[in-house]
């Protein structure tokens, strides 16, 4: 975290190499996260690039005293993803452009269940389980009260559990 703050301070002053270090650290994770949110690999890459361009161009957006840089980066990415969805209009959210045979059966079950969740639920559970975000970081990234994080996570887990249990594979496994 201290390293992030130092790199950020140098970036703010126009040090492109410091910003490049932050980009290389967070951009791959952000792109994978955006793939889940957007369900489209090319869109995820575009939105990730736009997010970092925006952060570089407007260096006063992040206030270190208010939270972590990681939460700020993912929060900015989430907002751009929401913008991307708005531009898509009425397109269904659960787009998956990746061939099904690329995934193992179990992974596909979870990924399919994840794809059926609303965008915010997908963001929440991914950031918690994969990125290991704390409740405070989730609150900052998703702009919700910290007290709401626990109840929303429960709601998402329950949704996932129900979707997962309702799949034919799961029923077959349980019987």
């Amino acid at each position: 975290m201290a390293e992030d703050r130092e790199l950020w301070e140098r970036s703010r002053q126009g040090d492109g190499r410091a910003f490049e270090a932050l980009y290389l650290k967070y951009a791959p994770k952000l792109e994978v996260f955006l793939r889940q949110v957007l369900g489209n690999q090319q869109a995820a890459q575009d939105v990730m690039q736009e997010t970092f361009t925006q952060i570089w161009q407007r260096p006063n957006g992040f206030e270190p005293e208010r939270g972590t840089l990681r939460a700020y980066v993912f929060g900015a990415g989430r907002k751009r993803a929401a913008e991307w969805w708005r531009k898509q209009g009425t397109r269904k959210e659960t787009v998956q452009d990746e061939p099904a045979e690329c995934r193992t059966e179990t992974a596909s079950l979870v990924a399919d269940a994840l794809a059926q969740l609303p965008q915010e639920g997908r963001s929440l559970i991914w950031l918690r389980e994969v990125e290991g975000y704390s409740y405070a970081e989730l609150a900052e990234t998703l702009e919700i009260p910290i007290g709401t994080v626990r109840s929303r996570l429960f709601g998402v887990r329950e949704e996932l559990r129900k979707i997962w249990r309702a799949t034919p594979q799961a029923k077959e496994r349980d019987s």
């Binding site: 490049e20 980009y23 791959p28 690999q41 006063n60 429960f154």
Partner: protein, 370 residues
């Protein structure tokens, strides 16, 4: 305990959160809850596995320095972060501009990008505020300032040091500390072990600084083209505030004799205390106390703008000050010619003049604090 009541805590348990004892006991013995716990854990594990199966991200190198940076104005910042309809935001901006048009004129005259930086800090959330001024032109005599107000039963210590300037942005070295349960602050000793942190200040931006044991303070900055005459009160109006007692460059005249002239000694102001009083100490003259509330042994005096008239020991006195002192039309005055400052104030000297505005009870008590 029902499983429905425990369900949210099962989720919290997966996140490493502490849960109530009775819920933990229930989960330990309930098959349904344990199945839910196992399912949640399995989902978490599988999500991590899905993430591992994601195709690797190939990063293209970018030359960031070539990308233009944007300095947003207020309108752009508002548009970017807008959560209210744009028409409503535009109307709000127009209203603010109309209401503050006189303020805009004043700012334009003072020259917004001058070398003097007025730092305003506000304690969050209760709003104790103060100002401090430094210069950003390398003048070693004025390139740092400090402020040590009494806050929540203790003393807040703030010290700002000019480091560098880049356009409208100024980098400061900031020391911030809090002495709880104290009413004194030593500017050298109490700052000695406080680490300095670097903060950038820019007009229109708010910086938050955490102060251990107290909370956060919000820091803003504004440039002026000159050093204000009242260094720590740059926004002081001619009209005194309610419960404000202030004395700027006092001169005391007895009959036709100038008793004391402290026009070089600055000013002292107290805002908010209805019992504020002025103490003037002068070698050979002892102490004068002037209060906005009556006290034992004091005589009545009258106030008009920057003049206070009273009669003591059969002689007429006139206290002249550079600004109106108080909204009150009457004051009460006492004189103690035998008063020794060193007996009542730590580190004070009897051969130097001094004046200060403090709460009356604090000045009447045995020991006076700086």
């Amino acid at each position: 305990m029902k499983c429905d009541e425990a369900a949210e805590f099962v989720s919290a348990l997966c996140d490493g959160e502490t849960i109530p004892r009775e819920v933990a006991e229930h989960i330990g013995t309930c098959e349904v809850c344990r199945a839910r716990l196992n399912a949640y854990s399995a989902i978490g594990v599988e999500l991590k596995r899905v993430a591992s199966l994601e195709p690797p991200v190939t990063m293209k190198a970018r030359s960031w320095e070539k990308e233009q940076r944007i300095r947003m104005n207020w309108w752009q910042m508002g548009r970017t972060a807008m959560k209210i309809p744009r028409f409503a935001f535009a109307s709000m901006l127009a209203l603010i501009l109309v209401l503050s048009s006189s303020l805009v004129l004043v700012r334009a005259r003072t020259g917004g990008g001058g070398p003097v930086l007025v730092l305003t800090f506000k304690l969050l959330p209760d709003g104790t505020t103060g100002d401090c001024i430094i210069t950003t032109d390398g003048n070693a005599r004025t390139n740092q300032c400090g402020y040590t107000p009494g806050v929540r039963g203790g003393m807040l210590g703030l010290k700002f040091r000019f480091v560098s300037r880049d356009g409208d942005r100024t980098q400061l070295g900031v020391k911030a500390t809090y002495k709880s349960h104290s009413d004194t602050f030593h500017f050298i000793d109490d700052f000695k072990d406080v680490p300095e942190r670097m903060v950038w200040v820019e007009p229109g931006e708010k910086e938050q600084i955490a102060v251990s044991g107290l909370g956060e303070i919000e820091l803003t900055g504004e440039y002026l083209d000159h050093l204000p005459l009242l260094r720590f009160r740059p926004k002081e109006a001619l009209d005194p505030q309610k419960n404000e007692f202030r004395v700027v460059a006092p001169v005391l005249i007895r009959g036709k004799e100038v008793v004391l002239n402290l026009s070089e000694n600055g000013y002292s102001i107290d805002s908010g205390d209805p019992e504020a009083a002025l103490m003037i100490y002068y070698p050979g003259e002892g102490r004068y106390l002037i209060s906005t509330v009556p006290f034992e042994g004091a005589v009545d005096g009258t106030v008009k703008l920057g003049q206070i008239k009273f009669n003591l020991e059969g002689q007429d006195y006139l206290l002249l000050t550079a600004m109106p002192t108080t909204r009150s039309e009457h004051v009460w005055v006492s004189h103690d010619p035998q008063y020794k400052l060193s007996e009542h104030m730590q580190d004070a000297r009897d051969d130097l003049p001094m004046f200060m505005v403090r709460k009356l009870s604090g000045l009447l008590g045995g020991q006076i604090h700086h």
